[in-house]
């Protein structure tokens, strides 16, 4: 195939334009703006590290940060364990399995706002069906205010998020399971290994690179949580369910504090980078690659 020198650049031109305008310019700009005070519609001016100083001294920022880590700390194991269990089940060759696979993935493709609506209704205090179940089966007579109680609101958001994204990570695990050579299982069977031995000695170690991928990916998902918060609690009660990405939105869009919100966005990236770095440091301890 012969072409002029400029031709390849014409092919990638739309993508490079998008990359520069909507990805790289905003990344640079968000860092620059984090050193400015920018209370819209007033013009911005430099304040150096002022936004960061304000954050570190703000109890609200620390509460939101704590919530974000708590969210990740429960969401990630929830998704990993749930998705792995589902994938191990779906991997079995029994009749009707593709129906279940299709079903388990379904929440992932539905709109968060739409499902948040029904979850709000399920978790409703007086008329909610969950409190009704709790009353019948566990004799919890005082209805729990799931969304208004600061002990539970964040937990509810985590449960809904896990429910919604588990099906996606299940598919990733499933692809990993299908890549494990069958000969290993046959050898194990000949040697008389039990089901649990096969799981812990063959399946999980060989799946560990996939598990690592799922963990890293889920952490990023956890830190960028916005939709479920926006649709269900809006950070209420008193920021008890607000996480960083939601806090960025609130400061930028509701309070028009573009500089401060940019600083928050930078902290978000910093936290994700730190956690991912820690992940990579501990990787050798549990992730095994096939030679």
């Amino acid at each position: 195939m012969r072409y002029r020198k400029i031709t390849p650049y014409l092919f990638i031109l739309p993508m490079v334009t998008g990359l520069v305008v909507f990805r790289y310019y905003p990344i640079v700009s968000v860092v620059v703006n984090s050193f400015r005070r920018w209370q819209m519609p007033a013009p911005p001016y430099w304040i150096g590290l002022g936004n960061y100083r304000e954050m570190l001294g703000s109890a609200q920022f620390w509460l939101v940060t704590k919530n974000t880590f708590a969210f990740a700390g429960l969401y990630v194991p929830g998704v990993v364990i749930g998705a792995l269990a589902m994938a191990l089940l779906i991997h079995q060759k029994i009749p009707g399995i593709s129906f279940f696979r299709g079903l388990f993935f379904m929440p992932y493709i539905t709109s968060m706002v739409a499902v948040a609506m029904v979850w709000n209704w399920i978790f409703a205090t007086r008329f909610g069906v969950l409190n009704h179940f709790l009353k019948i089966f566990f004799h919890v007579t005082d209805p729990i205010a799931w969304l208004a109680d600061k002990r539970y609101a964040l937990l509810v958001l985590i449960i809904v998020s896990v429910w919604k994204t588990m099906g996606f990570q299940m598919l990733v695990f499933l692809a990993g399971l299908q890549a494990i050579p069958r000969s290993l299982y046959e050898a194990a069977r000949v040697d008389g290994a039990t089901g649990w031995q096969v799981l812990f000695r063959i399946t999980l170690p060989l799946l560990s690179p996939v598990t690592f991928f799922v963990v890293v990916n889920s952490i990023i998902q956890a830190f960028r949580t916005f939709e479920v918060t926006y649709a269900m609690t809006q950070g209420k009660p008193l920021y008890a369910s607000a996480t960083l990405a939601y806090y960025v939105y609130e400061n930028a869009f509701r309070f028009q504090r573009m500089g401060f919100a940019s600083g928050l966005a930078c902290m978000l990236v910093l936290f994700v980078a730190l956690v991912t770095l820690v992940n990579f440091l501990f990787k050798d301890g549990w992730v095994h690659y096939q030679a």
């Binding site: 195939m1 012969r2 990638i12 905003p26 990344i27 388990f104 209704w121 299908q178």
Partner: protein
């Protein structure tokens, strides 16, 4: 082990597995079921204590009342149209942009190729929640607020995942096809357009469907860019509806069903593409 005890063991295993599968299936399906059932209830029935399981309007005259109300009185026809339009345009744009770039990265040599490809992939590490503020300020300056443009153009032009996926696909197409077309005197664009694109049919469908779903469900950009009622997409319209009709659950959930149903139909129709697309590229 005798044949009979072996069969017994398999029966026990299957029963156990189906029990576990049913448990997960129940958790998955219950919210959807409860949503659907509530939409066939009257406003009186939803606030019954204890909750009634059987919707009081199901298979009775006026069964579809809630849907009719939501569609005709609350602008959901318009929201549905907006969602369709925006998702379709953005997904179509991704196909064009990603297939052009994917073709160049897979089939041509040029200076800065690896650097540019790396720069593209690196962006998938930075979520849109971080870059939304400068993007918002940019849209204000372009005067694109309250138009369809900010919902379409950014995802039209960016697509690290799609470019990566199509590059992989194009790279695996045998060189002979390319050479044969070149000998016949076809231009590069012609080779891309009439040889490579038709071959990539299933990959293009996968990418289109995934992009359509993402844009259909997108919330962050509409929240920032759209405040006028007639431009709202379904998720945004649903949020506004919730703000105005707090606790009218039979109507709110009818709105939810309306915004889920088109995607559900698409999902059932294109399930193979979606699941394969994620299973094969989610890993790399």
């Amino acid at each position: 082990m005798t044949a009979r005890s072996k069969r017994l063991k398999i029966a026990v295993e299957w029963t156990l597995m189906y029990l576990l599968l049913s448990f997960f299936a129940f958790i998955t399906i219950f919210p959807f079921l409860w949503m659907l059932m509530t939409t066939f209830k009257s406003s009186r029935a939803i606030f019954a204590i204890p909750p009634v399981w059987m919707p009081d309007k199901l298979f009775k005259p006026g069964m579809w009342d809630n849907y009719v109300t939501v569609f005709t009185k609350h602008n959901f026809i318009r929201y549905t149209f907006n969602s369709f339009f925006v998702s379709f345009m953005a997904a179509l744009g991704q196909l064009i942009t990603c297939s052009l770039a994917g073709f160049a990265f897979a089939r041509m040599e040029f200076r800065g190729k690896n650097f540019l490809f790396g720069a593209l992939l690196a962006t998938s590490m930075v979520p849109i929640e971080v870059t939304i503020i400068p993007e918002f300020l940019l849209m204000i300056r372009l005067d694109w607020i309250n138009t369809y443009l900010p919902l379409i153009v950014p995802s039209f032009l960016t697509g690290a995942y799609g470019t990566f996926m199509l590059r992989e696909f194009f790279a695996n197409i045998p060189r002979d096809l390319e050479d044969a077309a070149a000998i016949d005197g076809a231009s590069v664009f012609r080779i891309y357009y009439s040889v490579f694109l038709p071959l990539a049919g299933s990959a293009l469908v996968t990418l289109f469907v995934l992009a359509f779903i993402n844009n259909w469900n997108a919330l962050l950009r509409p929240v920032f860019y759209i405040s006028e009622s007639h431009l709202r997409t379904l998720p945004l319209g649903l949020m506004a509806f919730k703000g105005a009709y707090e606790s009218q659950w039979h109507l709110l959930l009818s709105g939810s069903v309306i915004s889920i149903l088109p995607l559900l139909i698409l999902y059932i129709a294109a399930q193979r593409f979606i699941i394969e697309g994620i299973a094969t590229t989610g890993l790399k």
